[in-house]
Amino acid sequence: MADVDKDKLVQFLLRMGDNTLILGHRVSEWCGHSPVLEEDIALANTALDLIGQTQMWLGYAAEVQDEGKSADDLAFLRDVWDFRNLLLVELPNGDFGRTLMRQFLFDAWASVMLGRLIRSSDERIAAIAAKAGKEVAYHVERSAGTVVGLGDGTEESHDRMQAALDYLWPYVGEMFESDETDAALAAAKIAPDPSSLRTDYDALVNKVLAEATLDIPAGKFGHKGGRTGRMHTEHLGHLLATMQYLPRAYPGAEW
């Protein structure tokens, strides 16, 4: 384990794991409901990848925390105010276009972030990033392809993708917020300062959105508070009620 305050390392691991957990659950809500069979299976695959990444992030978080908890305990027995995911990933799916736009905006960030984390001074984090990075490289290829296909598609698909981008863009800025936790991890070379990812992120996102004939909204306002735990949207509690129902109603259940 790298040389940094334990609580700060846990905080970072929760941020990573809660992002993939909550987005993985959101994406899994499409299972059986996607517009076509091929997309249904592809989204389920993505959701499973994200849940798998969650097991690695929260598993390591539980180890570092050293309070006898497991990744499952962290996923299913914490309440809204304990979650550290970006607000972006807890937003409701909306239509298929909005789901894929959210996926692309997250995948683009994840691909840049994991690309840096493979050089983390913490070997466990570097190993998780190496494994997750291959999955995310595919996710971003797929979601970017769909964003371009729908953005530069019919008039209706274009309008829906532009509406999705207008709705989601104010949630992008939170990815690049920094606080003292980030500063400590950056100093220990465990993780990059989030703000340092913005240039690479913008290059990727601008290229894909231009190809998709979509315009990035001009407004500078940004929603935030998820990754610090200061506030979540009203939607996260409803998501947790569904996701956590079984282990809370039947504690210790196994199958």
């Binding site: 091929e38 695959n45 797929r142």
Partner: protein, 94 residues
């Protein structure tokens, strides 16, 4: 249906396979998406190392009605099977 995506036939080369084998079909709007869909639909259990897709309309197929003239003449020509020869080990995979 007018808005239906075209049908693609999917061929996968397996971990130890020497050739691509037909595994099924799917719908996709373009070749790149067809390959990604094939990856997601047909290689979830680590089946493949290579994917080919071809739009189904580009495949010319023999007619079931011609089965007799096409295939029956070869039934009586067992001497065409290479089972009468011993293949040397050093020949390797045939």
């Amino acid at each position: 249906m007018k808005n239906e995506w075209p049908l693609w036939e999917v061929f996968i080369r397996g971990q130890h396979g020497m050739s691509h084998r037909h595994v099924g079909s799917l719908h996709a709007p373009d070749p790149e998406t067809a390959i990604r869909n094939a990856r997601d639909v047909y290689t979830r259990r680590n089946e493949g190392v290579s994917i080919w897709v071809v739009e189904a309309r580009h495949i010319a197929a023999s007619s079931p009605d011609e089965k007799g003239p096409l295939f029956e003449p070869s039934e009586s020509k067992i001497y065409r099977h290479p089972t009468f020869f011993d293949i040397p080990d050093e020949a390797g995979q045939m």
